[in-house]
Amino acid sequence: MLELHIWGPGFGLPSIDPQCLAAIAYMILTVPKEDWKIVPSSNPQLAPSQSLPALRTSSTLWSCGLPNIISHLRQLYPSSDLDSFLPPRDAALNTAFTSYITSRGQELLDLSLYVSHKNFSSVTRPVFSSLLGWPVCYYHPLSARNAARERVRHLGFSSSIDITKKAEDVMAPLGETPGERAAREAADPKPRNNALGELAVGIKLSAMMNDFLGPLEKQLGEHRSLLGGQTASVDCVMLGYLALMLVPEMPKAWAKEGLDRHPNLKAWTEEFIGRVFADLPMGEVERGDVAWLGGVVYRNFIDNLPVIGKKEKVKNEEDPMLDASRKRAEALQRKEWWKSVLFITGGVVGMITYIAWSGIIRIQTGGEEGGEEEEGEEGEAEGEEVEEIEVDDDEHDE
């Protein structure tokens, strides 16, 4: 019995992840129903590559990620493989369109499901919360959102694409310098620009949707599959991305509106969803993570103990919960701390050197030589003390 582990279900679809949806569609079309089941575990830690979708063929054998799953199924069910019978040119286009849809579609889904604060807080996050156990439900959605932001940074949408956002969304990243804060605040549209900013963002997003969907609409035409022949793996991939643009009911529905403007694609998506997602061999929800969650709680507890915490740090490398962004933030914070210590020390030393070199203090005091020296030293000492107090203050701030 094959087990397909996925994220989901949610948004009225069997999965909330485009690659998982594609994997489901592919398996529906190629594997006999009695041979497999879907395990909506929503727990990437179960699979060795720590990502979903993952196909479990036996208790220890996994294939992770859609390409590996497809090539594995090709070995198991060679006669029903979708791509083996494509003519060479279509096989090439199959590869090309798959990477087109995956790269461009992912950016748009990131913007629609995660980066848009309204959509994220009112739809995506509640869906995640219903899928995940405690305490993962608190921080997985946020780390997923940060990853999505990172992916769309090059498009100029690094912060939020909603203008009407709440204050808590503008949480300052850890270890931010004043310069970075100023830059972030300057980049964020101010409330008074609301109407104009929202309009501009809306125009840009719908242009991006058209840019993405236009070629697909043209390629699909009136056919039943993207390449015009029989259904290939690229159709399953396209279904995954388009379904997540079409089906979820979002407050900011620009993705759906974009698909509405492309009638062929929309009709194709609706028809395909009805065909493959109607009757799914759903298996038991696997929650086999109690031990794992216990481990996390224990680990967090240990980490916060001042004495043992340090020794345990090495083991954290394997700790699935300490995600990369948190590690980065910590490193950044440490770096910032050292930087400020360095700057203050440098400043104090520089100031003292300058005072001693320029003889400012000597000019002020004048008089006897002996007294002058004494007073000069006292002045220096005082200066140092004041600066040290400032050092302390800075540390408290952080």
């Binding site: 699979a47 060795p48 590559s49 720590q50 990502s51 993952a54 220890t60 054998l61 996994w62 294939s63 992770c64 990620g65 390409p67 590996n68 060479p88 040119r89 096989a91 090439a92 286009l93 590869t95 090309a96 369109f97 990477s99 087109y100 995956t102 790269s103 461009r104 990853a147 990172e150 992916r151 236009g214 070629p215 697909l216 043209k218 390629q219 490398e317 990369a324 320029s358 400012i360 000019i363 002020q364």
Partner: protein, 318 residues
């Protein structure tokens, strides 16, 4: 010091005049007097500054002054720069290549072009329009779905393999470091190298969620094992190298199929933008220093693409 003292004495009367409406405390005045205002004469423009150019200048990553021993223009070692260099040549537009770095670009990325007539700066995303207006580019329908999809293939799979090999394998120390960090200070060099590798890692992790974990957490020694092909582990996870090079092979295979027996892509009568875009990667993947790597071996094995590459070289006059 002599000028400072002069300024010092000059600033005396000026301050005593201002005393009439705002008294300045003596220590503050003394402090201010030790920093007199000095106005220096205007600086000459830097020697590398463009002036009275007759040709459009294309600002790219290149070695030295961008010319070889015979005074011929060198190919850029950056795929995107080489793409535009080649496309300008294919569009019969004479230009002058200027060595540059990201910091000099208004958009933060190279290449960009400065037009001779009005010194207008044209970033790479507007270059196509400019070339269409001024040059004689081949007719091409870049809105065609197939071409768009194939371009996406080049910009993801070929680029990933390029980034991985150049930044996250030992090639980085033997080749990339010298190309992209031009400083003699070894400390600064080490720091810049670290930044470059980190950026490449982040870039790859963004587009490959499956590998994000191993890419971001693996120490360099792990990712460095590029030449030994790592078989998929019993646990089903693939190594970054394995996945990235498998993708590269399938992408190059797809390009070979699309090219077929034609001279240029899509049966055109002369090479165009698409050819230039693929050429940027395929040419550089076979460059000196990469031939022994897996990247170089994979690309050298593509006979059709190598034949086509020679053709583009000839047409572009490289």
């Amino acid at each position: 010091m002599a000028t400072l003292e002069k300024q010092h004495s000059q600033s005396g009367p000026a301050q005593s005049q201002s005393k009439s409406w705002l008294p300045i405390p003596e220590p503050v005045k003394k402090l201010f007097d030790s920093f007199p205002v000095v106005t220096y004469p205007a600086q000459q423009l830097p020697a590398g500054c463009p002036r009275n150019e007759k040709l459009p200048t294309l600002w790219i990553f290149t070695k030295g002054d961008g010319l070889d021993a015979n005074g011929r223009e060198l190919m850029s070692f950056n795929p995107s720069c080489l793409k535009w260099q080649t496309y300008l040549r294919l569009s019969s537009l004479p230009y002058r290549a200027v060595p540059s770095s990201n910091h000099s670009s208004p958009s933060g990325a190279l290449p960009f072009l400065i037009a001779p007539e009005n010194s207008e700066t044209i970033p790479s995303n507007k270059l196509m329009q400019w070339i269409k207006k001024h040059g004689n580019p081949p007719e091409e329908d870049l809105e065609d779905p197939e071409i768009k999809a194939l371009l996406a293939l080049v910009e993801t799979k070929l680029r990933d393999a390029w980034l991985y090999t150049l930044y996250l394998t030992p090639v980085f120390w033997s080749l990339t470091q010298d190309l992209y960090t031009s400083t003699s200070s070894s400390l600064a060099r080490l720091y810049l190298s670290h930044e470059l590798q980190q950026a490449a890692r982040q870039e790859l992790a963004n587009t490959r969620p499956l590998l994000a974990h191993s890419l971001l957490t693996a120490p360099l020694s792990y990712t460095a094992s590029y030449s030994s092909s790592i078989a998929p582990s019993a646990t089903g996870a693939t190594s970054p190298a394995e996945e990235i090079y498998a993708d590269l092979e399938s992408a190059l295979q797809a390009l070979e199929t699309i090219l077929g027996d034609d001279n240029w892509f899509h049966g055109a009568d002369r090479p165009g933008y698409f050819d230039a875009a693929v050429f940027g990667y395929v040419e550089l993947m076979g460059m000196e220093g990469l031939r022994e790597t897996r990247l170089g071996e994979v690309v050298a094995g593509c006979r059709g693409l190598q034949r086509w590459r020679e053709g583009v070289r000839g047409r572009a006059g490289w």
